[in-house]
Amino acid sequence: MSKAIKQNLADSKKMSAELFCLTYGAMVTEMLKDYEDPKDVTIQLDKMGFNMGTRLADDFLAKNANVPRCVDTRQIADVLCRNAIPCYLGISATASSWTSGDREFTITLEANPLTELVQVPAHLVSAGLSYSQLIAGAIRGALEAVHFKVYASATDTGANTEIRIRFDQVLKDSLPAGEDD
């Protein structure tokens, strides 16, 4: 019985890409009606992405027992681009444009499934809407779940999506008195 339930849960995660992307698009459309300022929609997308990211980190680590604890930013970028993004978006990604002593880098998605069926009007982009900010928020949330504080912002160009990530700090648990790390 427990095995059957797990199998069903695994099956239910194989939802089509189209269901996910169309749902996202319909949701953004609805939010643009609700908020007067496209900047507020971007903030909301980032917040939703953050919440999703904290859950996805658990899901990802449960499925990938071989992913080691990361000790530097290049290793984190490698895991994101080779494992996490292909796992949940079905596309490859590359890290580049390292600056600030390897504390800042850009993840480039060559074929973002979220924007594949979408034409975002230019006036919304110039007014502050970042259509793919959900992905950036998810990365921020996932990394915070494993104790890395980062800032992430997404920019959709004509051909691809770029997510600029800036590391802030490593978060420490506060341990009870007398405990050792």
């Binding site: 269901l19 996910f20 749902t23 939010m31 939703m48 919440n51 949940y88």
Partner: protein, 185 residues
């Protein structure tokens, strides 16, 4: 590959419920100032408050309309390879088999009709409720998790030229009955 639809759906529900709370607060606030209003010029000062209080849909309607839009688009993709669907019963059967399999991961368990435009579709393990504990503990909360699927089904039927009202019934999670009432043209 596992697109995280369930987690996205959860966040849409959370975000919609937060907006609902904002809307209720805006209504209360408007209630406190309405006695002092004198004519259109005064009302214009509170335009954004009025919009938030009265022009925004409630949570279920918002979720349902998102689902409607998605359903109408998805059914075009799913039905692209299918033979032409002629009768109303053929369309409903297509929804229960091919569409349900593609979108919800399995076929429905039972379809009944009175042949007068009412269909009852039962799914014993409905996809958006599978992560809930089984039983009747969360029957009340599960309503929000069915608004989007109801819209999806209504949109799919609309895409195949059937105008219908779709409502869910739950007696025990995760078993759901969808009532489809076809509207006259």
């Amino acid at each position: 590959m596992a697109f995280p639809f369930d987690i996205l759906h959860l966040e849409i529900i959370r975000s919609t419920l937060e907006s609902e709370k904002d809307r209720c607060e805006a209504k209360e606030k408007f209630g406190t100032i309405i006695d002092n209003l004198n004519g259109p010029a005064d009302i214009e000062k509170y335009e954004s408050l009025v919009q938030k209080a009265f022009l925004h849909a409630n949570a279920e309607t918002k979720l349902e309309s998102i689902g409607f839009r998605v359903g109408r688009q998805l059914v075009e993709k799913v039905s692209k390879e299918s033979p032409k669907l002629v009768t109303e019963l053929e369309i409903v059967k297509f929804i229960c088999k091919d569409f349900w399999s593609s979108v919800f991961g399995k076929q429905v368990d039972n379809l009944r009709t009175n042949h007068q435009g009412v269909y009852v579709v039962q799914d014993g393990r409905f996809t958006t409720l599978r992560s809930f504990p089984e039983g009747d503990q969360y029957v009340k909360e599960s309503g929000y998790f069915l608004a989007f699927p109801c819209g999806l089904l209504r949109g799919a039927l609309a895409g195949l030229n059937i105008r219908a009202i779709v409502t869910p019934t739950i007696e025990s999670v995760p078993s759901v009955k969808f009532h489809i009432q076809v509207q006259p043209k």
